[in-house]
Symmetry: C2
Subunit: 222 residues, 2 copies
DNA sequence: TATCGGATTATGGATTTCCGTAAAATACTG
DNA sequence: CAGTATTTTACGGAAATCCATAATCCGATA
């Protein structure tokens, strides 16, 4: 079982529950941070002191408040920690159930477990701890397990997302093309953008561009 | 202080924290429900037994799962409870920070306190309990307090919302007009809908309709 | 009933988006 | 290098939306 754990979680309620769970596993050496920045600093410090953490339990969404932060989301924190300390085990612990985001966590940041906050999340957290401490097996809450099997959104690339984001931000297609040209983004012709939008509308079964933006917002893609 | 409390909250973590807080106030007679339906039944039963609750602490968003429910959100639960038992005190306890929703809770359902889940929510919960048990004063977490002062969205009516919802659902303006005509919704001409959209875009400072839908989605209006 | 004001509806032209076709550029293959 | 395939770009007409103006309806009031 894990010896030294760090929790990144802004809500007291979840912190309390996680700590209680760790106690149940007789893990007493843990710390928590309410901001991603703090968590990252602690992890780096621990490495320097040659006493690295062997598990990170991190929330994904952190509330913004008065404090200015460098790392604003758990996704970023996890990514940076994975680079800094590749062998650390990571549990994402979040209410997030958007497939795009979870998928990218497993594929890009290579998290070891995803525990969905919900009616029985503590149970899941215990399972995750048991499984990933004993092996390199992954764990994912069953409510969202299916999304890992989903045939990929691999057809949707970075440029598509950019277009969608700009659209949802009130930018017209003409303006987007201008921006793309000024920033040397590769397909930047009127018809290329139009074609991509047509493809996206087809893919997401959207009736029109408004619908498309609405759908992709709901799915957490933008 | 309150004698008999019911908590409607689907997350174990929050239930635990709230119950601990009640214990701190020496409130021992409380129950909790993970589904709105259950909470409502308990409240009704308590009235019939002549032992009504004097406080409801309710979350707003409840996760959907396999179980079929009649009351799907805290907003609905609160509304129904307020009708059933007008004198009960109600604390909304939620992560929700969309002004439209909070405002309507105070104005329509006349909740007594709104506690925002966040880094210091337990502190706020204690304040709310103290204040509303002793008087008819309202409490609202300071992070969202400002929105009650906001000049109203009173310019936006039911038809506006309908239009926005249909748009975000992929319906074209022409189709919306058709639907309005078939359902005898009062302004149902091309230009009336266009005029309303122009007004909304002006109000929300949206560049175009896509932007408008995106903004109103973010604000929780649709 | 006459008239005023506000809201709704009608109309038409400018702009933007939509969508199909075709040319041009680029990549890949033998 | 020729030939094929894929991607990007160009063009143009159809459709939808945007926007300003004008006509019409409808309730309130004296």
């Amino acid at each position: 079982m894990f010896k030294k754990v760090i929790i990144a979680e802004d809500f007291e309620e979840f912190n309390l529950a996680v700590q209680q769970t760790l106690n149940d596993f007789n893990i007493v050496n843990f710390q928590h941070a309410k901001y991603c920045d703090d968590a990252f600093l602690k992890i780096r410090k621990a490495i320097q002191d040659n006493e690295p953490y062997d598990l990170l339990i991190s929330d994904l969404s952190f509330k913004k408040d008065h404090r200015e932060v460098k790392i604003g989301s758990g996704d970023e924190l996890i990514q940076k920690v994975r680079e800094l300390q590749p062998e650390i085990k990571i549990i994402a612990y979040s209410i997030e159930d958007k497939s795009a985001r979870i998928k990218s966590l497993f594929e890009d940041a290579e998290i070891n477990a995803f525990v969905l906050k919900g009616r029985n999340s503590i149970e899941d957290l215990k399972k995750a701890l048991t499984i990933i401490s004993a092996s390199d097996q992954k764990f994912i809450s069953h409510e969202v397990a299916s999304i890992l099997q989903e045939k990929g959104n691999y057809e949707i690339d970075d440029v598509d997302i950019k277009i969608l984001k700009y659209l949802s931000d009130g930018t017209s297609q003409d303006e987007i093309i201008e921006i793309f040209k000024n920033n040397d983004i590769k397909p930047n012709s009127k018809s290329a953008v139009e074609k991509r939008l047509a493809k996206l509308k087809d893919f997401f079964k959207a009736n029109n561009t408004i619908h498309l933006v609405s759908i992709t917002k709901d799915m957490g893609i933008i």
